[in-house]
């Protein structure tokens, strides 16, 4: 077993279970329970999923966390070597395409001059959602119909651009908490909800790792998974405390009520079980982004969670 386990978290409410694991030292606790009290736990934070992937692939990171999209792409690319799989889901959250333009009510209302800001335009989760929506609306072969409207801007810049009306941006496809900040402003409304596209709740963030680490360090792997489970259960049982912990962790500038409301939002699930990951991955395979086609959700995740009710 390794003497040090490294985990990554990123910024945002979707990573709340990791925040709890970090702050409450749940991994240490589970390691101790597993008889690995000497294992050092190191937390990193990355500004982007691709940096976390680099770290994972260079062997510096054992557990990466991020969007479902990058995780599935990494799974696809590592079939023949390090065999990355999902460890567990983190959270399901809707991603909203919001607009400040009153005439844009559905995606059919976009014209050539209506740009849509999104992070990682062309490859991000939001891109895939929008392509799925387009495929649904205009047929599978037209899934790229809205691609020409996508404009690449990081989430905060995209939101700012829309709210301030600069650069002609009036719509943005974004994530929590940005979409809720946006909806707080007058005139901003939802054009598209990722849940509607997927037909229900859909895993937005997950944790993944390499098969090599798991087989070489089964106890450590199990301890981390258990810690994640403990954190998730605790959040679901104590939303108020979880919100307080989150606010404290990020510097105490946000309102606890606002965070608690989000945690209690019935649309937001903190669960280890993947939700609608398979259809998402199969769509990516359909449009050629993935070379390998997963036939069951269990193809994408390590066996430790195969007993959960995933999809």
């Amino acid at each position: 077993e390794t003497s040090e386990v490294t985990l990554a978290r990123q910024f945002g409410i979707g990573y709340l279970p990791l925040t709890v694991m970090n702050n409450n030292q749940l991994v240490e606790k589970q390691l101790k329970a597993a008889g690995l009290a000497d294992t050092k736990v190191t937390w990193s934070r990355f500004g982007s999923g691709s940096a976390a992937n680099d770290a994972l692939l260079s062997g510096q990171l054992n557990f990466a966390a991020g969007g479902t999209g990058p995780a599935i792409i990494l799974w696809d690319k590592t079939r023949t070597n390090v065999k990355v799989h999902g460890v567990a889901a983190l959270s399901s959250m809707p991603n909203l395409l919001v607009s400040i333009a009153p005439e844009i009510k559905t995606i059919k209302d976009f014209t050539e001059k209506d740009k849509i800001a999104m992070a990682g335009a062309g490859s991000s989760v939001q891109t895939v959602y929008l392509q799925m929506a387009a495929a649904k609306e205009w047929g599978k072969e037209n899934y790229k119909k809205l691609n020409s409207l996508m404009v690449n801007l990081p989430h905060p810049e995209g939101l700012n651009a829309m709210l301030s009306g600069s650069a002609g941006i009036r719509s943005t496809f974004t994530t929590p908490p940005f979409q809720y900040m946006a909806l707080d402003k007058e005139g901003v409304h939802v054009v598209l909800n990722s849940y509607d596209i997927m037909g229900g709740a859909n895993t937005f963030l997950m944790v993944w790792g390499t098969d090599k680490f798991r087989t070489e360090n089964p106890k450590t792997f199990k301890a981390v998974l258990d810690a994640l489970k403990e954190a998730t259960d605790w959040i679901n049982a104590n939303p108020r405390e979880a919100a307080e912990l989150y606010v404290k962790d990020t510097g105490g500038k946000e309102a606890v009520e606002f965070i608690e409301k989000m945690i209690r939002d019935p649309e937001i699930h903190y669960t280890l079980a993947p939700e609608r990951v398979l259809p998402y991955a199969q769509f990516m395979n359909d449009v050629g982004t993935l070379k390998n086609r997963p036939e069951a959700w269990t193809d994408l995740f390590f066996p430790e969670i195969h007993d959960l009710k995933g999809s």
């Binding site: 934070r45 500004g47 770290a55 510096q60």
Partner: protein
């Protein structure tokens, strides 16, 4: 005929009795109060800074879009809040520490490369080729290798910092070396100096003006790179530096704090330029009459 002009006006010869130079007294040209004030560089610069701050305030007020561009006053307020509560100074110090390490290593490597370049012909080719190849590469290109070689944490940050300091400093230093006057080089070699001593005793002081601007550019680009890299690399321990502070506040749409972080960078830049680099210039190239 040729001397007609002189012939026209015979002038008397004149003799003077020179006085001893001790009895001159001190001669100074009197200056008006305005001249005296405007002769102080610090006051002129302060004036410029005040003008810039006023422009910022007025423009931001007119723009009236605090999510994009907060006013100067709001930024300063956020700066003080950040310092008082948010440990902004600590974060700045974290960044500066990493920066100084990267800067020092970068300069040392630049010295090594340029010494090699100036003493051997293949060294010149290596320096020119490496600079042309690697200098245009963005820090992100180095990330994978940095992770393999240095792991998470500061090692990798230092690596990208070195990348952004090394080439600029090496380029300027090498060009400075090549521009040293042939006479000075011959003098140095006349003394029997060779290799490192020749570079250290002759070429470096002789090319100091070029080296200094290389150092200034390297310093600035180290900051740029550090802040950009902290966003990507994130933090592996502790609370991160200024770049992470900016990134986090941006994500929370705390725009005045974002600008407070950037303002901190500006303040550090002004300090380094006006205190460190300026004094260095004064006791070297200015004092030596190598730059006016």
């Amino acid at each position: 005929m040729p001397d007609s002009i002189e012939m026209r006006r015979p002038r008397p010869e004149v003799h003077y009795e020179p006085i001893a130079s001790e009895s001159f007294g001190i001669v100074e040209k009197p200056l008006s109060a305005w001249e005296r004030v405007s002769n102080i560089g610090g006051i002129r610069k302060l004036f410029i800074l005040v003008v810039l701050a006023v422009i910022w305030q007025v423009y931001a007020n007119n723009l009236n879009n605090p999510l994009i561009f907060p006013t100067f006053v709001d930024t300063v307020r956020a700066l003080f809040e950040g310092i008082a509560s948010g440990g902004l100074l600590l974060k700045a110090w974290t960044s500066i520490r990493v920066l100084l390490v990267g800067y020092a290593v970068g300069i040392a490597l630049a010295a090594l490369l340029t010494v090699l370049a100036i003493t051997t012909r293949i060294g010149t080719d290596i320096l020119e080729t490496l600079t042309a190849m690697f200098n245009p590469l963005p820090a992100i290109a180095l990330l994978p290798l940095a992770l393999i070689w240095f792991g998470l944490g500061e090692g990798s940050l230092v690596f990208v910092l070195v990348h952004s300091v090394l080439w600029a400093v090496a380029l300027n230093t090498h060009s400075g070396f090549l521009s040293v006057s042939p006479t000075l080089r011959m003098v140095g070699r006349n003394y029997g100096l060779g290799g490192f001593r020749y570079v250290w005793r002759i070429l470096i002081p002789a090319a100091f003006a070029s080296i200094l601007s290389g150092l200034k550019i390297g310093w600035a680009f180290a900051w740029r790179t550090l802040i950009a890299a902290e966003l990507v690399f994130g933090v592996s321990s502790g609370s991160g530096g200024l770049g992470w502070f900016i990134y986090q506040n941006k994500n929370m749409l705390e725009i005045p704090s974002v600008f407070a972080g950037l303002f901190m960078v500006i303040l550090i830049g002004l300090f380094v330029e006006n205190v460190i680099f300026n004094s260095l210039e004064k006791c070297t190239i200015r004092r030596w009459g190598m730059q006016s």
